[in-house]
């Protein structure tokens, strides 16, 4: 009697995950295809990767993307953490306000946010390029850091903070010696997520890029619009591998910090 719904469950979930990952696997697979067309598999090659490494433009936009992603990650880690820690001491009503304001960038569709920033920055006559890219990416990455740090803060036993107060620590000492060490793993994971999100953004970057400085996803997007070429597959595959390194690293961090607290 019991086996039947379980079998249905396994079947449904397996089917779902296969569908979820088939498009990704297809991209990876065809990055190794000799033929430039997906119509047939003509044999294994690394040629497309070779071509990729010779592409000067890609190297350039990749560099821009990395600089933007890392700056964004640092800025949004600082801002998101500061905002989350601030909610610890303000009144409940103010905490709700901060929540709304911090999450606002996620509630506005990216196109609308991108357009509004484009119009605003051009009204301010800001030069489009690194500055606008970093500002806008920080804007939509900060909420993720805020959410992740906030979730971690909610897990901290309030009496630990009271104990610190009781033992003589002032507000800054508590932040420095108790809160920051306890949320550090979350900040790090969130910063890595911010890197990934920044490196993935197409919509807002389309509006923020300068005449000479575009980002990797915007460039890939324009390549894709031209048509299917295994070079794009190779590029996507490389990005995927890079992302998986980041994920592996962040998993490693969160596992380590969890182990430490398992018994607390």
């Amino acid at each position: 009697m019991k086996a039947k719904p379980q079998r249905l469950r396994t079947f449904y979930l397996s089917l779902f995950f296969v569908l979820l990952y088939i498009p990704v696997l297809a991209v990876i697979l065809y990055s190794f295809n000799q033929s430039p067309s997906t119509a047939q598999w003509t044999g294994f090659t690394l040629d497309w990767y070779r071509q990729l490494f010779r592409d000067r433009v890609i190297a350039e936009v990749f560099k821009i993307s990395i600089v933007v992603a890392i700056s964004t990650s640092i800025l949004s880690a600082l801002l998101g953490t500061a905002a989350a820690i601030t909610t610890l001491q303000v009144t409940e009503g103010m905490e709700k306000k901060i929540n709304t304001v911090m999450l606002l960038p996620l509630l506005v569709p990216e196109v609308a946010l991108g357009v509004s920033l484009l119009l605003f920055f051009s009204a301010l006559k800001l030069p489009f390029g690194y500055l606008t890219l970093i500002l806008s990416h920080t804007l939509f990455c900060t909420p993720y850091v805020y959410i992740m740090v906030q979730l971690r803060l909610k897990e901290i036993d309030i009496s630990v903070i009271e104990a610190a107060k009781d033992l003589g620590a002032g507000r800054w000492q508590i932040i420095k010696t108790i809160i920051l060490p306890l949320v550090a793993p979350s900040i790090l994971t969130a910063s890595l997520l911010a890197v990934a999100i920044s490196l993935d953004d197409v919509v807002i970057s389309t509006y923020m890029a300068g005449p000479t400085s575009t980002t990797l996803p915007v460039h890939i997007f324009s390549m894709m619009r031209v048509g299917v070429t295994p070079k794009v597959n190779a590029l996507c595959t490389l990005i995927l591998v890079g992302t998986f390194f980041i994920i592996g690293f962040s998993q490693f961090i969160s596992k380590k910090s969890k182990q430490r607290e398992e018994f607390n």
Partner: protein, 284 residues
Amino acid sequence: MFNLKKIKQNAPAVPILVWTGILVGIPLIYVVVLSFLSRDSLGNIVFEFTWENYKRIFDPVYLKVFYNSFLLAVLTGLITLLIGYPVAYFTANLEANRRSLAMGLIILPFWISSLLRVYGWIILLGNNGLINSLLLKFKIIDKPLTMMYNFGTVLVGTAYMLIPFMIVALYNSIDKLDRSLLEASYDLGASKWKTFFKITLPLTMPGIAGGFTLVFIPALGLFFISDLLGGGKNIFLGNLINAQIKGRNRPLAAAFSVGMIILVLLVLYIYTRITKNKKEGLFL
């Protein structure tokens, strides 16, 4: 009367509110203002009040685009809900080890480049794509099927892109469900299906509403999906705004953006009505 103590307590919040206010609040207000302004023949903005931009929204061509986008976002919400609910429900009922594996697989796509994930569908569905070549090879068809460049393709791509949001929202809600309530329901004689419709579904309503909102909002504006999968025939709001920006018709782009935000506000309003008196927030 001002409560001095409260003001002092809330003072640290000021920089955060100011920062986000400048970067989100002012640009959004500016967009609204701009949507009422005119432009000269070179595309430069002229500070002259006009309803013209909004009148143009009601041009049947543009109205159709609004309708398309709204339909796409709603259908995306429904499809991801229908496919995602069983995924979330089954996952929540897995034993601990398998559950974290399943959750990992659901969350992983958040990290994978969205362009790559769209591109995968081109490879699968294209005229020279994987599916067509397989079908041709096994002689199931003798002419490639046209699966690309229609509304359905865009819908598939958008739903595929956003379904992890839906599942995570649903999962959080289902996972919070007190299992003893379900047991009580069985104990009182309700069947599995009855329990699902009378207990599980109503109690996970906040998750459903949250998931729908989280899917609906981005579905309105992911122009790269419709660009890559929809071709030139299927224009959505995102593409339209993008085109107006390129055509230097900024006031019109602003008006369309305002229209888009109004659609979002509508959904957010419905969301807050559904989740009223519930503790769960959209993200926290």
